[in-house]
């Protein structure tokens, strides 16, 4: 092996230093929020809480887990993620399987029909008016049905199905299996990795989406956790900006609002983040694979 030059050594050392800094900058906000969420609200107000809780308490989490509105929002998010992911993956995979069959009548037309939607869309307002027009407004299904078929996922599924060995399906056909039986009994069991990857992406989308509920849902008991969190954080910024503008008159009022404000909102944020962080280490590999499947098609 050739000895690294002096310049190369400097380069390697700077790379390590830079990557450590990057890791720190990425990780710090999580850690700091976690720390603040375990710190008592009144103590947080004094400032200076960074790497370690100064006045450790579980109080914030106790309040969060007693808040009915929040628990309900968490439940709605779970329901939306489970039902939305299941239905979306099912309908998308069925469509993809049908389109992977050469004998399907109208296959070319259907493909173009799907692909065009990747280049043209009606945009926000017409979609909003449609959802309102068909009576989905303020219903749980407004968060699930409009994004049920994801064309991008369909293409990935289809590419995968086309690469499956044909022999198994053909022998099943000879044994008298219909297309649906073949799909559920043979194709799906063979598609574990791709189903896992696409389900994960879909689930992350459903868990993280706060925008659609914010325009489609008005009932408080149907709001998912991310949308609720957005409302909570928003009201906090408003108070802090008010105090900035008119410190004297509003200081008292905003202080009252902030007594438990920041620590409590950090606890809420952690509750909304932790499901993703818990799942993440186990599925990281699938995520990476999914990106590579997707970008190969590009």
């Amino acid at each position: 092996m050739i000895k690294p030059t002096f310049g190369d050594r400097i380069m390697i050392v700077s790379i390590y230093i830079f990557l450590i800094l990057l890791g720190f900058v990425t990780f710090y906000p999580f850690w700091n929020s976690l720390v603040i969420s375990f710190n008592s609200g009144q103590d947080t107000m004094l400032g200076g809480v960074t790497f370690w809780p100064r006045d450790f308490t579980l109080e914030n989490y106790q309040i969060v887990f007693q808040d009915k509105r929040l628990l309900n929002a968490f439940l709605i998010s779970v329901l939306r993620t489970v039902i939305g992911t299941f239905l979306s993956v099912l309908v998308t995979a069925l469509l993809a399987y049908g389109l992977s069959k050469k004998e399907l009548i109208g296959r070319k037309f259907f493909m173009i029909f799907c692909l065009l939607t990747m280049f043209f869309s009606g945009g926000l307002i017409p979609t909003f008016l449609l959802v309102r027009g068909i009576g989905l407004m303020d219903s749980f299904w407004a968060m699930i049905i409009p994004t049920l078929v994801l064309v991008w996922n369909m293409i990935i599924f289809r590419t995968f199905f086309q690469q499956l060995p044909k022999g198994l399906e053909e022998s099943a056909k000879i044994d008298g299996c219909g297309n649906w039986q073949i799909f559920f009994r043979i194709v799906l069991p063979l598609s574990g990795p791709v189903i896992a990857t696409l389900s994960l992406f879909t689930a992350v989308f459903h868990w993280n989406d706060w925008f659609f509920p914010s325009i489609y849902i008005s009932s408080e008991n149907l709001i998912p956790i991310q949308t609720l969190l957005r409302q909570v954080l928003n009201s906090n910024t408003v108070t802090s900006q008010m105090s900035q503008l008119d410190a004297g008159a509003l200081a008292h009022m905003s202080n009252v609002a902030k007594v438990t404000g920041k620590s409590l909102s950090m606890a809420t944020m952690m509750v909304a983040t932790i499901p993703i962080i818990l799942v993440y280490p186990f599925v990281q590999k699938h995520f990476v694979k999914g990106v590579l499947i997707g970008s190969l098609k590009e």
Binding site: D8, I36, E103, Q244, K262, Y280
Partner: protein
């Protein structure tokens, strides 16, 4: 005799063929029908709905009964007092994102490629991929927390090092907004966006490096002479996509972080303006016209970028 029967048989078969064939594979057709119906309803009906950009859309009359006004809403947008400001914000924010958030993952991938300690490499990857999976609400929440005057870590750090005397409310000062938006986007996307480049670098022929090393090229030189040229086609393809998205300056990030009235003059881009005008004020036709204007320019930009790339031998289609 025999051949006649056969040809007749074929003829009969051909006449009925479509329906026979269709119902012969009815179960297969039933698989695609639900998906196609959903695509039709939620993608194609809104495309037709875009026509309301040329109407004075009336929610009680619907598209059929509303009055046609031609290009009036487009003219209104061009003479909107906020038109130039919104266009500027769109291009500046998007341009800054391309300038900083596009090359950063490439540099990260190049750096990770030089790291020979696998455990360290994997740790950095695991940490930097994670923010991609957080919602903008959470990311913005982190940003608000770090930047706030209320126990915000940045203020604490600046005060401790003596750089400032009094806490700064960074999120209430328009001058800081673009920096904040680009930084949070960088924070969220750098790791995950590097995956594709890491994979591309892994595919570079190791013999090239060996040959270069024999010729006396340092690792540093090898990066510029071998690695970067090898992954150039992928960089160009992603760059084309990026330019095609020039008018997508961001949406959720700007809506959450730039929501306060003080920041509107620097945070409102075309997409967020469509949202505020359309959903917020209920001016559906006007908002749709603005959205359509953006869509048309976007298609033009993508075509142009692709044309330039094709002349250099790389192209999307």
């Amino acid at each position: 005799m025999k051949s006649e029967v056969i040809t007749k048989g074929i003829k009969v078969n051909k006449k009925k063929s479509f329906f026979k064939r269709y119902f012969g594979q009815f179960d297969l057709q039933m698989m695609v029908i639900p998906g196609l119906i959903f695509i039709f309803i939620f993608n194609y009906i809104p495309m037709y709905g875009v026509l309301m950009a040329f109407q004075n859309y009336d929610i009680f009359e619907g598209m059929m009964g509303s009055e046609w006004v031609g290009l009036e809403h487009f003219k209104m947008f061009f003479s909107d007092p906020r038109f130039l400001e919104i266009l500027r914000n769109t291009f500046v924010i998007s341009g800054l994102k391309i300038l900083i958030c596009f090359p950063a993952p490439i540099m990260l991938a190049l750096m990770l490629n030089e790291v020979k300690n696998m455990a360290f490499k994997r740790t950095v990857q695991t940490i930097t991929y994670l923010p991609h999976f957080l919602s903008w609400v959470i990311v913005a929440g982190f940003a608000m927390s770090i930047l706030s005057t209320d126990n915000g870590s940045l203020n604490i750090a600046l005060e401790k090092t003596g750089l400032i005397d009094e806490s700064i409310n960074f999120l209430a000062i328009p001058e800081y907004f673009w920096t904040i938006i680009v930084s949070t986007n960088l924070w969220k996307s750098i790791g995950f966006a590097s995956i594709v480049y890491i994979a591309a670098i892994a595919g570079v022929d190791p013999q090239l490096y060996e040959a270069a090393a024999l010729d006396g090229a340092s690792r540093f030189k090898q990066i510029f002479l071998i690695t970067i040229p090898s992954i150039m086609p992928i960089i160009i393809i992603f760059f084309i996509l990026e330019v095609g998205n020039l008018l997508n300056a961001g949406f959720e990030d700007l809506l959450i972080l730039g929501d306060s009235a003080i920041l509107r003059s620097v945070s409102d881009v075309i997409d967020t303006y469509v949202y505020r005008v359309g959903i917020g004020s209920g001016r559906y036709s006007y908002a749709t016209a603005i959205g359509l204007f953006k869509a048309i320019i976007s298609v033009g930009l993508l075509t142009l970028a692709n044309y330039i790339a094709r002349r250099n031998g790389n192209s999307l289609w």
